[in-house]
């Protein structure tokens, strides 16, 4: 029995190592804000959102599969939340009744396992019931498969068989073992057997004709009683293991169910908040990684929106067929916000989520990387440019064609000419290896170089500035200009003081 709600053919593995750029991506795109909105204070939801978003898929099929499931969730929130309650209840029951397999002896393991199994089989009944009642409301292949599997695997015969074992496993009549002689003529290979009498009863076995030698322990022979208990444990070892592992398997199934549903519960939470704040969301149009697509209407920075709790600036634009987007323009003009909205939309899209826009379509990419200018390294181990180059080198280690790299004021920790030269070396190589690049810079020298080349695959965007110096925080197509209007900012600050 498999959950398969995040992938059509496998479970999500929370142990999969996160991509090496996970920490930078989290910091540069302010992803924690997004996860907090999805989690609503629940640690598990937060962790799941984190893992799923950081390990986004590069397969159109997988993303589409999730999009369809998510659409089902948005239509049936109550049923999905009820399903999510089943694994939650398993955890609560375990805590409330101190269930768990903690013993170090087979007999103890067996009795704890039987208790666990009784509780879990009860929850499986509930799962079957939800499937029977609501399966018809779901349309996505993912949910249809899931419910069909529940109805098929957890049929009435299965429940009867499980319950028969739960009675038998208490061994009220004693245990029957087979054994052989191992090294030193010590008994070995103790195997628990089922009496082969017609009714499976032990006492009939003992009344048969073949020779039997019996021994009754002296009532005060504690040592002997313990030794006999140990032998019994040897016999029960495997069945206790089988029962305990069965309990773990069911528990494991519910854990996977919890993990995979948690992503959609997080998505429901996010959807409900954005809708309440009046922000639009859209299911993005997917294009293969080999293409160069980017078209957006009403694209906004979802983290900023969640923090400000009001409408924020949205951008429209298109960059079809473009490999390099160079964003220049006014300081504090919305360049970074725009860059973040591009990165967030890509991350959310590749996780299978809706995106913060009225309309959005883009090509998938083989990895999302950010290279942002950082605060001075506290350890003072390396110079600032050295540190930036080190990070860049680490990114290059993991780049493959069709990756997406977002640069924010990179390589500016030296004089402009040198910085531009390093940036040009890097960007040229990335473009040649079919890496898609968004580069935010206030350095005219770099932008000018690309602008003069008039490359058809480059798009120049500029943070808008009104003639009076005020900003709209919109990013529009526009050629680079030799000043970043630092003077404006200076004036704004100093005029405020006056």
């Amino acid at each position: 029995m498999n959950v398969f709600l995040l992938y059509p053919d496998r479970n999500f593995d929370p142990q999969t190592p996160l991509p090496p750029n996970a920490a930078d991506l989290t910091q540069d795109l302010a992803l924690e804000t997004l996860w907090q909105a999805m989690a609503q204070g629940d640690k598990f939801l937060f962790e799941t959102a984190r893992l799923v978003l950081l390990s986004g898929s590069q397969e159109m099929g997988v993303i589409h599969y999730r999009q369809q499931i998510l659409q089902d969730c948005l239509k049936n929130p109550a049923t999905v939340r009820a399903l999510y309650q089943i694994p939650i209840e398993a955890i609560e029951n375990k805590q409330r009744h101190w269930l768990g397999i903690f013993s170090h002896y087979p007999a103890g393991i067996l009795s704890s396992a039987v208790e666990m199994l009784e509780m879990l089989v009860g929850l499986l009944h509930r799962l079957r019931q939800i499937a029977d009642e609501h399966a018809a409301d779901f349309e996505s292949p993912g949910f249809r498969r899931f419910f069909a599997m529940i109805q098929q695997e957890l049929d009435d015969a299965c429940f009867a068989e499980m319950e028969a074992h739960l009675r038998q496993l208490r061994f009220r009549e004693g245990v029957l073992l087979s054994a052989e002689l191992g090294p030193g003529n010590e008994g070995t290979n103790y195997v628990l057997r089922k009496p082969n009498t017609p009714d499976g009863l032990m006492k009939r076995l003992l009344s048969r004709k073949s020779p039997v030698y019996s021994f009754t322990l002296h009532p005060r022979d504690d040592h002997g009683a313990r030794a006999l208990g140990e032998l019994r444990d040897r016999g029960l070892n495997l069945v206790a293991n089988a029962a305990a592992q069965s309990a773990d398997h069911i528990d494991g199934f519910l854990t996977v169910l919890r993990r995979e549903l948690a992503f959609y519960i997080g998505a429901l939470n996010l959807y409900e908040q954005l809708t309440a704040l009046g922000h639009p969301v859209a299911f993005p149009g997917l294009h293969p990684a080999e293409e160069r697509r980017h078209t957006y209407r009403g694209l906004y920075d979802v983290c900023l929106a969640l923090t400000m709790r009001k409408r924020v600036v949205a951008n429209d634009g298109e960059a079809e067929g473009k490999d390099l987007m160079l964003i220049t323009g006014a300081n504090q003009g919305g360049k970074s916000t725009f860059l973040r909205s591009i990165g967030l939309a890509q991350v959310m899209m590749q996780a299978g989520l809706f995106v913060p826009a009225e309309e959005f379509s883009a090509n998938l990419c083989s990895g999302i990387f950010t290279h942002y200018r950082r605060e001075e390294d506290a350890s003072m181990k390396s110079g600032k440019l050295d540190e930036e180059l080190k990070r860049m080198s680490a990114i290059v280690n993991h780049l493959r064609p069709h990756a997406l790299v977002l640069f924010n004021e990179s390589f500016a920790a030296t004089n402009e000419r040198e910085g531009a030269e390093i940036a040009r070396q890097v960007v040229d190589a990335l473009l040649e290896r079919r890496v898609k690049v968004f580069f935010v810079t206030h350095q005219y020298e770099l932008a000018r170089g690309y602008h003069e080349r008039q490359a058809p695959n480059a798009l120049f965007l500029r943070a808008e500035r009104q003639p009076d110096g005020s900003r709209t925080y919109r990013v529009r197509p526009g050629d680079p200009q030799p000043t970043s209007h630092g003077e404006d900012v200076y004036r704004k600050v100093f005029e405020k003081e006056r």
């Binding site: 498999n2 397999i101 002896y105 396992a113 499980m162 074992h165 038998q168 496993l169 004693g174 245990v175 029957l176 073992l177 087979s178 052989e180 002689l181 090294p183 030193g184 003529n185 010590e186 008994g187 628990l192 089922k194 082969n196 032990m202 073949s210 020779p211 030698y213 019996s214 021994f215 009754t216 002997g224 009683a225 030794a227 140990e230 040897r234 070892n237 495997l238 069945v239 293991n241 089988a242 029962a243 592992q245 773990d248 398997h249 069911i250 494991g252 199934f253 996977v256 050295d386 290059v396 493959r400 064609p401 390093i422 070396q425 890097v426 190589a429 990335l430 040649e432 290896r433 079919r434």
Partner: protein
């Protein structure tokens, strides 16, 4: 040739009460020997490491054996043999402590079976696995004759028949409260499998293993003894055969094989020790050519003790070369502190000592000198005597050292006279150097006195080097001439491999 020993091509010298040579501590060879022998405590291998050989025939005998054992197949055979011999000895000792008759006899049978497997496995290996050394050839002759002897054949055949009879016994045990019954087994089905089958549909990959590791082995309590007693009554014949076996084969282990079992661990222990350095750290080891001539040469050599420490830290080991040719006798090492000078001196000594044990040495290629003694004098940092006392102590130690030195010796001196005035140090050092050169010994002298380096044609100057553009950074390379100051003008981007060409190289299309 009769088979004496896998360690000696002539009757083994007495090793009882042998003391570690004094140079071990200075050269950090004590650490190496400790680490090499630690996993093999039971074999008491240290005495073998305290006896360097001065005869190239004896060294060649060991080098041949080591070469054979370096082969993974041989190593596996020897490990299998050693494992079985150890088990057989353990079982044999154990039977002396057991209470119940058929328990005792059962373990005696186990000891015999394991011993037979050990011997037969070794014989098989000796026949099927290529070997070139005289040592293993001698062993082959011995073992093949032994396994074909009637006494051994009888032991092996009978042990197996008796074991087969006992292994065929299968019985049932019914356990109820305070009571148990024993009967023959009658094909009842395995209940654990049925439970597993029912719940298999929930399988989600690996789960915890709840099988309790129930301690089983050397013990038999009175309940188990009672069960065994019932089993003997149900199946009397196999136990009668066991009685007969124990009477007939009271003493079955061969003394020569017991000796081989211990001695071969000398090689195994060392090869096990260097294996991770070769395989994980990629460090070179080689068999040195050994000669009487006072000419030595090594390429890519390193300090073995340091390499082992650096392996834990994940740091790289710096390899160094040295050569003494023609009239050259003494390498004089100077240069900045912490530059690897002491390490270099130790390395020189370790190479010669390990070579004299007949073992592969830490270098890519080496030609080394046979020597009667390896004498060292390293400054003792923990000495808290007065300056005067220390100088006197230094001189006394040097005096003793020179008394022992012969033209066949190797001498390694490290920062002696560092606590006296420059003038005194130079005076004393010249005196000592002259004595050493008269004796024509080979050696290394680490010193802060540049003047010593250019004393005459018998001394060779070597210098520890620094990174030219950053003199604070050591390279740990010791070279035959002073650093030439060649600076690299790498741009920062190049250093991080971030030029356009470098990136194109790094990202595959």
């Amino acid at each position: 040739m009769p088979f004496f020993s896998i360690l000696f091509n002539h009757p083994a010298p007495p090793l009882d009460g042998i003391q570690p040579p004094a140079c071990l501590r200075d050269l950090n060879l004590d650490q190496i020997i400790e680490a090499v022998t630690a996993p093999k405590q039971d074999y008491d291998l240290k005495p073998f490491f305290y006896l360097p050989l001065a005869d190239d025939g004896a060294i060649a005998y060991r080098q041949e054996v080591t070469r054979d054992l370096q082969d993974k197949t041989w190593m596996a055979h020897i490990c299998a043999f050693a494992g079985r011999m150890a088990a057989a000895r353990r079982y044999r000792t154990m039977t002396e402590k057991l209470d119940f008759e058929y328990h005792k006899k059962g373990w005696f049978l186990e000891a015999a079976l394991t011993y037979c497997e050990a011997v037969e496995g070794l014989a098989e290996a000796l026949q099927t696995t290529p070997l070139a050394s005289r040592g293993l050839q001698g062993l082959r002759e011995y073992v093949l004759a032994y396994v074909q002897s009637p006494a051994f054949r009888l032991l092996a055949d009978e042990a197996r028949q008796v074991k087969a009879g006992l292994a065929a016994v299968k019985y049932s045990l019914i356990i109820q409260t305070g009571r148990f019954s024993v009967r023959r087994y009658e094909d009842e089905t395995d209940y654990s499998l049925e439970v597993e089958k029912t719940f298999a549909r929930f399988k989600q990959g690996a789960v915890k293993d709840y099988r309790v590791n129930l301690y089983q082995g050397t013990g038999m309590n009175h309940i188990e003894a009672k069960i065994l007693e019932f089993v003997v009554r149900l199946y009397p014949e196999p136990f009668a055969a066991l009685d007969r076996f124990c009477e007939r084969h009271a003493d079955f282990m061969d003394a020569t094989l017991l000796t081989f079992d211990r001695e071969v661990q000398f090689y195994v222990a060392y090869l096990d020790y260097i294996a991770p350095l070769q395989e994980e750290s990629g460090l070179p080891f080689c068999f040195p050519e050994m000669g009487e001539e006072r000419q030595v040469k090594a390429r890519d050599a390193f300090d073995l003790a340091l390499a082992e420490n650096l392996r834990y830290e994940g740091a790289a080991v710096v390899l160094n070369d040295f050569e003494l040719r023609g009239a050259e006798r003494i390498l004089v090492i100077t240069g900045p502190n912490q530059g690897g000078k002491t390490t270099f001196a130790r390395m020189f000594g370790q190479l010669h000592y390990l070579a004299a044990l007949g073992l592969p040495v830490p270098a890519r290629q080496a030609r080394l000198a046979l020597c009667d003694r390896l004498l060292t004098h390293f400054e003792r940092q923990e000495d808290i005597r007065t300056l005067r006392g220390k100088l006197q102590d230094d001189l006394m130690r040097i005096h003793d050292l020179l008394k022992e030195t012969t033209p066949r010796s190797i001498v390694i001196l490290n920062e002696i006279f560092s606590s006296t005035t420059l003038k005194d140090a130079l005076f004393l050092s010249r005196k000592i150097m002259t004595r050493l050169l008269e004796l024509d010994v080979l050696g290394v002298w680490v010193t802060f006195l540049d003047e010593l380096a250019a004393l005459n044609e018998k001394t060779v100057s070597m210098v520890s080097t620094v990174v030219p553009e950053n003199p604070a950074e050591r390279t740990f390379k010791i070279v035959r001439r002073p650093a030439d100051g060649l600076a690299y003008a790498l741009s920062l981007a190049e250093k991080h491999r971030l030029t356009r060409a470098q990136i194109l190289e790094r990202i595959r299309p």
